[in-house]
Subunit: 411 residues, 2 copies
């Protein structure tokens, strides 16, 4: 999201700053600077267009501050027509909410009428809300007649080293990702979409991300709950998105402009981590903690030198997180990450239960599988994390006005 820092705001030349009135031009945009510190001003008035054309929102959209992820299972006996109506209703409701409007009347006038919108976002700004829809592998089984349209690379993720998946936290026929700069706006969106879906879909599992942990284009790099910057080398440029994320011609036709989506719920043993010394933490990541510089560099965006040695040993440990994940060491494999911190409170042994809601988009889930297989096998970080939730979805392309999400499935 756009934003400014205190430093940027008050360091302007000329001693003053003039904003035109009534321009409809957001304050934060007006004051945007290239200061690279985190922003102290959050402008909730900004809205994102749902009818954006080629791609769904919430993928290349610079990550908002909060996220609610929820999966759904289609109720037995549901017909393709009922799904079609659901997707049309969801699309229309998403467009409304992204514009800061309720999905129906909060105060319906007809006697005995139930409110069309649950109301808790009434009076709140759009807060850059985006909602993204994904379809799981199960949608292309024999239930709905979609088998011939199955996206070519959509299948359940294989078991991977270090997986510690919990039965209640895997898979899903459908998924929604609502991201916003106000968590009440994101929660309201998922709640009202779940409500619209009752009778056709049941809720599956959910994670609420309370703090952005990956950087997008134009954003300073936020920190995960291990205290390290996350997303320094994330995909940020349109050309990189075309190369690594958006599906072009090499999949089924109706998915052109779409992508694949992997969600992992990654528990962090933060109390154990907090007892580890700084040098070991930095060795595990391959970066310094405060600056986030690779251990071979001085600044965050310095390119890591995986060949550099000191006293005959590599400066960046070959089993450090950044060494194993780097595209240089994975035949160019890259994924678009969208991470959020989460907490589940306190676990059964009295320790803080928290972690990372990891979301990745890529034009082939094998990009993720390749990276995670290597990481799961050798990553020094594995001592402190556990992948407890997992799902994969196909993300249909974006829509233009008059269309609805996944419309091509019903053609």
């Amino acid at each position: 999201m756009t934003g400014i820092s205190r430093r940027g705001l008050f360091a302007g030349a000329g001693g003053g700053l003039v904003l035109g009135a009534g321009t409809g031009y957001g304050l934060a945009q007006a004051l945007d600077t290239d200061d690279d510190g985190p922003s102290d001003i959050v402008d909730l008035s900004h809205s994102v267009k749902f009818y954006a054309g080629a791609h769904q929102v919430g993928i290349a959209t610079p990550p908002q501050r909060y996220c609610v992820f929820m999966t759904f299972g289609v109720v037995d006996g549901t017909t393709p027509q009922e799904l079609q109506i659901l997707f049309a209703r969801w699309s229309s409701a998403i467009a409304q909410m992204m514009a800061g409007k309720p999905v129906g009347q909060v105060e319906p006038q007809r006697p005995g009428a139930v409110p069309g919108d649950t109301g808790e976002a009434e009076g709140l700004a759009p807060a850059s809300l985006t909602v993204t829809l994904g379809l799981g592998p199960g949608m292309f089984d024999d239930r709905f007649g979609f088998a011939a349209q199955r996206p070519r690379r959509l299948r359940d993720l294989p078991a991977m080293p270090s997986d510690n998946l919990r039965p209640g936290l895997t898979g899903g026929d459908l998924a929604l990702q609502a991201c916003a700069d106000d968590p009440q706006v994101a929660y309201h969106a998922v709640r009202d979409l779940a409500r619209l879906g009752r009778g056709v879909v049941d809720t599956g599992w959910t994670v609420m991300g309370f703090g952005r942990a990956s950087a997008g284009a134009g954003q300073s790099t936020p920190r995960n709950l291990q205290g390290f910057k996350d997303g320094t080398r994330n995909i940020k440029e349109p050309a990189e998105l075309d190369e690594h994320v958006w599906i072009d011609r090499d999949d089924v036709d109706w998915m052109r402009g779409g992508t694949y989506w992997v969600t992992r719920k990654i528990q962090m043993n933060i109390e154990t981590w907090d007892a580890d010394d700084l040098a070991d933490q930095q060795r595990i990541f391959g970066r310094t903690k405060l600056e986030g510089a690779p251990l071979t560099g001085a600044k965050e965006f310095d390119t890591p030198d995986f060949e550099a040695e000191r006293d005959g040993a590599p400066v960046i440990d070959p089993t450090s997180h950044i060494a194993l994940a780097a595209h240089e060491n994975n035949e160019g494999t890259r994924i678009l990450r969208r991470g959020f911190n989460y907490t589940d409170g306190i676990n059964e042994v009295g320790q803080l239960d928290a972690g990372l809601l990891f979301i990745a988009f890529c034009k082939d889930p094998q990009q993720f599988v390749r990276l995670q297989t290597r990481l799961g096998r050798s990553d020094l970080l594995n001592e402190y994390i556990s992948h407890i939730g997992s799902a994969v979805f196909a993300v249909p392309p974006g829509v233009r006005r008059g269309e609805y999400l996944a419309q091509a499935l019903f053609a």
Copy 2:
């Protein structure tokens, strides 16, 4: 919190707005208006002073947007001296964090050193963080020699009608409430305080509030997850605080300037609620949904007329939430509320699991007991809510520089 709305910002006279540079004067303060809509601009640069004198912070402080509440049990065998050191360390750490600083070195220079601060708030603004400490009834049993200093009105809450308390969600020797306009800042505070306490205190139970649901002085009224405004008639004026909240001379001396604190975790059956019709929802609350006006008035802040009748029946149902809770109907009893919305995801029957983290301050917990006994017995809202968590604490007075919280206990 300070803040402005889009409407306020761009409706200024003269078509422009000039901000001086380098004044250290927060943007939101500079632009503050009396527009009563919710603010679209959040200024995270603001900080609150910990060494505030008579009263602890986080009570009369206008409620921030997020809250992390956590209880602790004192480890068996802990000495009063160890508690004294903990309170002194906590006080110093809270003061640091409220000023936007880490509690120790994120990158300690000594070889083998463990970071003094967990790091995830590094680079984040103070976000109006406050941390409030409470002491439960158990602190004044025979363990620490504090029996003679027991606050006069501190005892476990009695069982009340409609209680549905879960064993893991009650009581606590100590409690911390961290409130901030950035949840990562609030979470970081509680996490690092829990870490400082390891060996002396164990974690108990916790609730993370993701959206403010009660209004304080100068704030527009936010909404709870039933879509209604919450806190319209909250205590907001200093004279009311003196009358209903701050302990003066009628308690043990060392508690002068302190208060009592009740936390309730109130689960809302939001999916059932969402199926109820508007008229019934409004009858249950006694207010309209959008405006939040009493059913006898037109505007939110109109005084409810509990005597008014229409067609021989009271306009505001005598068992509505506002009728039962109103000070006019409770011999003037009032409490200071600080509510936050929470979600626990999805429950065992697939419904959205959410509710209200209810926090109240009063100079005698009986103020809460009186109101909740009446509400628990008759409130029309009881069909849709369930009190599942509960605790009561004495809140020691505030501190001046050089002092630490609850210092008088060790005199």
